[in-house]
Symmetry: C2
Subunit: 210 residues, 2 copies
DNA sequence: TAGATTGTTAATCGATTAACAATC
DNA sequence: TAGATTGTTAATCGATTAACAATC
């Protein structure tokens, strides 16, 4: 499967979309698809699809196209979906609770193993069968339970502090919902969900001063 | 304020980040900032900052830099934050409820005026003082209340159907949380928050097959 | 074999960075 | 005035698209 290194972020950001469309084809029992057909569905050019996929290997076959199931599996593998992840949520507010209740991520092996907050009133309370814990136990917990991903749902002003704690305790992936840019050491990955940035993009485009 | 048209999406996606950092400077009572200083904070090159800002007008002054307050106001204006928006949420599940409870958007004039769902058990129930309504009233409501933005939080399989309804009733902006690519006519703006895509990007990067 | 479609190289397009004259 | 920093043009870099030989 290995091929080129230094895959551009542009390519990486398209991969989940490939995964979604291939999943759809798979569910419709489609066996094979050409870059041209996929192009029409997914909205990328056929050329781009072939370029993208070739970053990771020669998945197609001349004159035939791509085998949907094989390609789907390859993409899942590239996306790291063949592994299991232990995740924790820090901040049991609106977003934190929503993510905790959203079971779809658990279906693809992102296992929620802990929820943390600073509000003592919440301690012991369960969301989706996971107890909310005192944030003081955070560091200890991460090491004990081999947590892979920290989902940061705390207010902006505490986000960097929380990030520092989880990173210090060995977390390698941070999914950040706080509207701030976190500083992290090399080797740690942060992926941001900046809801407010997204909403502002929408209003910006709606205003057409662009 | 008008200047060039055809602003690239790359520029637009950076604007909310400018707004955030300028807000921060403003809160710290900083009067002026040069592209070089801002560059060090925000992480874009000084050159890029000047290029970006010049898409919209000559906001700076040679030898001085940019007036923080003025620039902040200009950015807010470009982002459409000087207007008021009526928004509705369709789908009162986890995400829908979390967004409904999140009051920060209301502080910047995104007013939640309605929540809709298909589950009769939820009708009449209030979130953040807004009653959950039968989705059958959706079209009527949009026209009556001059709704600007529909926030789609329904499951994937119903998202396109809901989108079609809101668009048919005059909605010009859709904030889509369903993990699907919605088809919309020209003139309507869709901004996606694809949480699962974001999580998959994280696991992809953590796996370093890239 | 003939037709289809890939993998890959070359051409194009767009976005970022560098440089500097204009000017506050 | 001298120094600083913009606005803007030119150079560079990277990403997308087009083209086509390789080959199933």
């Amino acid at each position: 499967m290995e091929k080129k290194k230094n895959i551009s972020m542009a390519v990486i950001k398209r991969l989940p979309k490939y995964q979604r469309y291939l999943r759809e084809l798979l569910d419709k029992d489609v066996d094979r698809i050409s870059s041209k057909e996929l192009s029409e569905k997914i909205g990328f050019t056929a050329s781009q699809i072939r370029q993208d996929l070739n970053c990771f290997g020669d998945f197609g076959q001349q004159g035939y196209g791509y085998n949907v199931e094989d390609l789907y599996k390859e993409i899942c593998n590239i996306l790291g979906l063949t592994k299991k992840y232990n995740t924790i949520i820090i901040g049991a507010g609106n977003i934190g609770q929503a993510i905790a209740n959203y079971t779809n991520f658990q279906k693809i092996n992102f296992d929620l193993v802990g929820i943390f907050d600073t509000n003592p009133k919440l301690y012991g309370l369960k969301i989706n069968d996971i107890e909310i814990n005192d944030i003081d136990f955070l560091g200890e917990f991460i090491k004990d339970k081999n947590v892979d991903i920290a989902i940061i749902c705390v207010p902006s002003r505490c986000a960097q502090e929380i990030c520092d704690i989880v990173v210090k305790n060995g977390i390698k992936g941070v999914w950040n919902f706080a509207p701030v840019d976190l500083l992290i050491p090399k080797g740690v990955i942060v992926e941001n969900v900046h809801l407010s940035d997204s909403l502002l993009t929408l209003s910006c485009l709606m205003n057409g001063s662009t």
